[in-house]
């Protein structure tokens, strides 16, 4: 069976690509520290020596629209084109093309349906920055096949937080029951407190530093029950109007497992959001990671 080589949860920040590649007067003052933290985070994936990446993210009204909106969707295709005109326009993101791992996608769809997750699927999916940001930060050579898993954290009504955790647990079991000798990393991105298009956007810190502190603690310690006891669809409005993206972190806590402390935890307080990076090694810290630590 396949081996779950690493579980990685991260914020996705579309400004990283431009910040990290800019030079001279265009380079923001926080870029060097940000790049250093990302490079260290990248080493945690490299050390796991993955063959395949399951990428959990959320379409930002690019291909998925309100006339036909899935709650959870698996991309099954030989290739995925990536990034959209408005992401190139606003963030300077490059067009990309990633290979797909159709056999694992088919396994997740069949096994997921049989576990009562009524997963939607797409055979022609252009993915967006929720998936390409972590490719850029964690695997910039973009050389590994992926299985995209999209969640709806964007267009209410949305599934309950517990459903994200349940899907995360199921994804772990399904990856570990995939008849393959491949090493799989599951990478998911979301947000801590975040406001977009409202009065609290683009402040000096994230809109709710206290929520961010608690969220990092829940994730780092694997405190799924504590998190579920406090987080509801209603409560997530309070830290910032785009904070439902935190449910993708909850999904990743489900993949990592109850009580599983993260092996790598890092944060960066940017001017309008808290960045947060977590890696778990389900089968022990690989030797390459120990050497570099």
């Amino acid at each position: 069976m396949a081996e779950l080589a690493a579980v990685i949860a991260s914020t996705h920040h579309p400004f990283y690509y431009r910040a990290s590649t800019s030079t001279g007067a265009d380079r923001p003052p926080f870029a060097d520290e940000w790049v250093a933290k990302i490079e260290r985070f990248r080493e945690t994936l490299t050390a796991a020596e993955p063959d395949v990446l399951v990428m959990v993210g959320s379409d930002h009204f690019h291909q998925l629209w309100l006339d036909n909106m899935p709650q959870f969707l698996v991309g099954k295709a030989p290739y995925f084109d990536a990034n959209w005109y408005n992401e190139e326009r606003e963030f300077g993101l490059p067009k990309m093309r990633l290979r797909g791992e159709e056999d694992l996608a088919a396994h997740l769809l069949r096994d997921g349906l049989d576990r009562d997750f009524d997963l939607a699927f797409s055979n022609e999916l252009r993915i967006d920055h929720s998936i390409t940001c972590p490719i850029i930060t964690l695997r910039p050579q973009a050389d590994l096949p992926i299985v995209p898993v999209y969640t709806n954290i964007f267009a209410p009504p949305m599934p309950q937080p517990r459903r994200f955790v349940q899907l995360g647990r199921a994804i772990r079991e399904m990856v570990e029951s995939w008849p393959s000798d491949k090493r799989v990393a599951v990478i998911g991105t979301g947000h801590l407190s975040l406001e977009l298009g409202g009065p609290r956007q683009f402040g000096e810190h994230g809109p709710d530093p206290e929520f961010d502190r608690k969220a990092v603690e829940w994730i780092a310690s694997g405190d799924i029950e504590g998190c579920l006891a406090e987080v509801t669809l209603d409560s997530l409005h309070s830290p910032g109007n785009a904070t439902h993206g935190f449910m993708d972190f909850m999904l990743m806590m489900g993949v990592a497992g109850e009580g599983r402390k993260a092996d790598h935890v890092d944060t960066l307080d940017l001017f309008h959001t808290m960045e947060a990076y977590f890696t778990w090694y389900p089968n022990g810290v690989p030797a390459a990671a120990e050497v570099s630590a």
């Binding site: 006339d67 005109y85 408005n86 298009g197 009065p199 956007q201 683009f202």
Partner: protein
């Protein structure tokens, strides 16, 4: 009131470079044209298969014609769509992050809970 149709306007304009420029330069004309030609188009169908019942209220037309992002927010338009499109149209006229901060300051009087964006 149709939050869905406002969102559909913002979505279809934001994803099309020509429409972004057209809406920036001629908001009233773009809104009138869009309601006539695009509002009833089902996006995944050929143009012949029209929806028969979608139209704006006068209040919605006015907010869109006036580039009034605060009223759009208060109507429950999806804030990500509004923000993304308005950055595309107006960030170029300002210094770094200046437009985004002014956009927020224009909404300082908005209190929690925010309008429901459910469609």
């Amino acid at each position: 009131m149709s939050k869905y149709l406002i969102d559909k306007f913002l979505y279809t304009v934001d994803r099309d470079p020509d429409l972004v420029e057209r809406y920036r330069e001629d908001p009233a004309g773009t809104v009138a044209w869009w309601e006539q030609e695009m509002a009833t188009t089902i996006l995944n169908c050929i143009s012949h298969e029209k929806t028969t019942w979608l139209s704006f209220t006068e209040e919605e037309r006015t907010a869109l014609r006036e580039h009034d992002h605060v009223t759009l927010f208060q109507m429950g338009a999806h804030p990500f769509l509004t923000l993304t499109l308005f950055i595309a149209m107006f960030e170029r006229d300002h210094g770094p992050m200046e437009y985004q901060r002014a956009y927020a300051r224009a909404m300082d009087h908005v209190s929690m809970p925010y309008p429901d964006i459910t469609t």
